[in-house]
Symmetry: C2
Subunit: 166 residues, 2 copies
DNA sequence: AAAATACGTCAGCCTTATTGACATATTTAA
DNA sequence: TTAAATATGTCAATAAGGCTGACGTATTTT
């Protein structure tokens, strides 16, 4: 590192396109998640708990392996979070009927209530952001976000929406 | 937690609007950041380094306090990351000319090059996601993202774009 | 019966964040 | 000109949430 030259000019859209979008994504996502953070803190939970709670509520009866696949974390990481949520009575396990090795995850009533509360907070922000947009605008936003996702994950997100009982 | 009732129905858009958008945001943002993660790993850097590098390149000469304000982290957190980036020759400090207490942060040539490389990766994904959208569609996306941001941060993002030399 | 699968857990490590306390240089105010 | 405020750096301890590797156990498949 022999004394490298200092640069004093700003990096701008001339150097690379889409700086504004890059920054909008950073700040938008940060605001988006802090909504839930505050509520989660009351339960001693973090974002990891939120993600698990969310997908268990969206796909009741999913297995641990499926959840790992969605979240792309290791089972060791998941297990701590899952234990917290089971200890607090937000999530419950059942052995699989067809395959007894699988532990199927379900929300409890309390887990459903918390998941809804968190989603409603985030939904409010989304509604406010969509306020001045028509259906076409919303479609544009959803298409953009969808195409930002790695192709491998896109199908999963799609089947999460309409139905597709696991 | 006296054995709470298990819920087996899926949480759906009937329960709360915008589930699809919530999930699109989660997956889109995850894909978005992993582009850069892979390059950063080669340098032994993480996302924290990326954020610092980015804003120092966008606002060369900003002070430590300003950077803390943008990132909303503590100086203790920042200092380690900043030290790594200075040790590796990606960022350099200069004492403020008017106020000698301030340490103004600048990218080096190497720091600028790395910041650009990372931005270009992310920009490519953004271009692909915008591919089938016209100017109106892009405006919709940017307006949506902008309104998702907490009002306090919106102005900062705006003045980051056009100019506004610090 | 043996092998593969699904899961749980123990132990140790890393990154990135936190808080609190304290040192230092520099500027500003009394 | 001394005192106070400011900007920064740093030390120490802690926490969340990731990771790898190894090993145990139930259950299903071969």
């Amino acid at each position: 590192m022999t004394d490298s030259e200092i640069v004093k000019t700003s990096m701008s859209e001339d150097d690379c396109e889409n700086f504004r979008t890059i920054e909008l994504l950073f700040f938008a996502y940060r605001s988006f998640i802090t909504d839930a953070d505050e509520v989660l803190a009351d339960y001693g939970f973090g974002r990891a708990h939120h993600r698990v709670l969310h997908f268990v509520n969206r796909r009741p009866g999913l297995s641990v392996a499926e959840l790992l696949e969605i979240l792309k974390i290791t089972k060791q990481s998941l297990s701590r979070v899952l234990r917290d949520l089971m200890d607090s009575g937000h999530i419950a396990q059942e052995r699989g009927a067809i395959d007894g090795r699988r532990r199927l995850l379900y929300p409890t009533k309390e887990g459903r209530a918390l998941a809804l509360r968190l989603s409603q907070l985030q939904s409010r922000r989304i509604n406010a952001a969509f306020e001045r947009q028509d259906n076409e605008g919303r479609r544009n936003v959803e298409e953009f976000l969808r195409l930002m996702i790695d192709p491998e994950d896109r199908d999963f997100v799609d089947q999460l929406g309409p139905r597709g009982d696991i």
